[in-house]
């Protein structure tokens, strides 16, 4: 079976010369939920931008469900990879929730009744259907993030990529978002440094550090390896411990 996402030997330097990625290899199977952990400046956002061709690889390849990211395949790649940005105000740029969720599928040529249905389905899945005709800036931060998830779900992506989904959320919104993410049956790659959130949602974790994948394994194992975490500037919240293997 082809992987949902396959990245091999991906390297990238910004135009100013900053080398952000030094050869990233990773493979995510269909239906997996994977956390991408890493300290600030590790290159997480840079990697994410490669997944749908916003940045083009200096070296190496990215392919989504077998389709390589390349100039000619951009529209299809962007349908397959649903990117949820860190700040929902960047993601929600249309005057109403309905128009915002419709924006992606409309760009793919979906029109009329089918478009409306997709919008409703996507909002239903994140529990925001009742906000359909409201302007995004009248919603709470947590609600905006859920709508941001809906905007990419409406494109029926192969893989959902979230950049810091739990940042700035209060505990209740954080839990609600977790429930939503767990209820979706899509492949998820979640970028975060919220380690408990990764443990809660993802069976597998990767550590990106210094522009390479430094660790790859079951989340529980990675989070119980204090030495590994410390080596990559990752810390569990005060008082939080993860037992290796056995239930806690």
């Amino acid at each position: 079976m082809t992987a949902s996402l396959e990245v091999s030997r991906l390297a990238y330097a910004y135009p100013d010369g900053t080398q952000a990625l030094f050869g990233v290899d990773l493979r995510i199977e269909r239906g997996e939920r994977v956390a991408l952990l890493g300290p600030n400046g590790a290159g997480k956002t840079t990697l994410v931008m490669h997944l749908n061709g916003i940045l083009t690889a200096g070296h190496g390849t990215v392919s989504v469900a077998g389709l390589p990211v390349a100039k000619g395949s951009m529209q299809e790649i962007r349908r397959r990879v649903g990117l949820v940005f860190q700040d929902p105000d960047d993601q929600l740029f249309m005057p109403t929730v309905r128009e915002d969720v419709a924006f992606g599928p409309a760009n793919l040529g979906v029109r009329g009744e089918e478009l409306q249905q997709r919008v409703k389905d996507a909002l239903e899945r994140v529990g925001m259907l009742e906000a359909i005709d409201r302007p995004p800036h009248h919603l709470s931060f947590g609600q905006r993030r859920r709508v941001a998830v809906a905007t990419v779900l409406a494109m029926e992506p192969e893989i959902l990529v979230l950049d810091e989904p739990s940042s700035n959320l209060d505990p209740a919104s954080r839990r609600e978002l977790a429930e939503i993410l767990r209820s979706l049956d899509v492949t998820v790659l979640m970028v975060t440094h919220d380690l408990p959130y990764a443990l809660e949602l993802c069976e597998r974790s990767l550590i990106l550090s210094g522009g390479v994948i430094a660790a790859d394994g079951p989340t529980r194992e990675i989070l119980s390896d204090a030495g590994l975490l410390a080596a990559h500037r990752l810390e569990l919240p005060y008082g939080f411990t993860v037992g290796r293997g056995e239930e806690t």
Binding site: M49, N52, I54, Q75, R78, R79, V81, L83, F85, D87, D89, D90, Q91, L92, F93, M94, P95, T96, R98, E99, A102, F103, G104, A106, N107, L108, R111, G112, L115, P135, P136, H137, H138, T151, V152, M155
Partner: protein, 260 residues
């Protein structure tokens, strides 16, 4: 958040006028304004009829007259300007109540006031019955330059966000003991404005990335189909149609007013 200050022109309702597609209303108001501007200033009766026509639309849209009057405040600078003309104007002079006023100046003032007032009221009615975003969709349908329409769309969406950022920056300044009192503080305000510009610019870049990520290729996709029926166009055409009839009728039969 400074939610909705710029939406207060709109007044929700479900009347015939509210339901008309926005492009019909936009075109109607533009045509009406052209008829008003084309009317010679001496045709008092014609202006009177235009005012009655607008009053009819206000009634039909169930907009309280006070709502329109309060929003007419936007016209005050023009009124002040117009009122000054008879005092500073040249030419033949008249002196009612012991004031020395220029006659051509009086005509010029009347011309500006009458036409501006009609135009402003028509625009207020349009804005009161059309949601801002629909107005923009209407403009898009009328093939106004897409770049301008998109810019306006983003302004509509991000005005609150930017106002909020501005407010946060002011709070940050003031919580460090700064309050703008006199001209010496202008450089500080200017630096804040610069920072705000950079922030907004960076946001613009991020929004652009978000748009690209969802398949944007340079033009806004059609999301809401706003086709207008011939009946709706006809209905919207009533206002400019009637104004045009008055204009042409007066031109042909000369029942306009003192000067005709």
């Amino acid at each position: 958040m400074g939610a909705g200050h710029h939406h207060q022109l709109y007044r929700a309702g479900d009347t015939l006028v509210h339901r008309l597609p926005p492009q019909c209303k936009l075109a109607a108001v533009a045509a009406f304004a052209m008829a008003v501007v084309a009317t010679p200033r001496e045709w008092f009766a014609a202006f009177g009829t235009y005012a009655l026509l607008l009053a009819g639309v206000v009634l039909l849209a169930r907009i309280p007259p006070g709502f329109v009057l309060r929003r007419m405040a936007i016209e005050i600078p023009f009124v002040v300007f117009a009122l000054a003309i008879p005092f500073v104007g040249t030419g033949e002079r008249v002196s009612p109540l012991g004031l020395s006023l220029s006659l051509p100046g009086l005509w010029a003032a009347w011309n500006i006031l009458a036409k501006a007032t009609l135009g402003v009221v028509a625009s207020i009615v349009l804005a009161a019955t059309t949601e801002p975003r629909l107005m923009l969709l209407g403009a898009q349908r009328l093939r106004l330059p897409p770049m301008l329409v998109q810019i306006a769309m983003f302004m509509l969406r991000y005005l609150d966000v930017i106002m909020d950022e501005m407010r946060r920056m002011r709070v940050a300044r003031e919580s460090r003991g700064f309050t703008a009192r006199d001209v010496r503080h202008i450089p500080v305000i200017a630096r804040s404005a610069g920072a705000l510009f950079i922030r907004s610019y960076e946001r613009g870049e991020r929004v652009h990335l978000a748009m690209l990520s969802r398949g944007y290729t340079g033009s806004m996709p059609v999301i809401q189909d706003l086709t207008a029926s011939a009946r709706q166009w006809l209905l919207a055409g009533t206002l400019p149609g009637a104004a045009l009839a008055v204009l042409l009728g007066t031109a042909l039969f000369g029942t306009g007013g003192v000067g005709a």
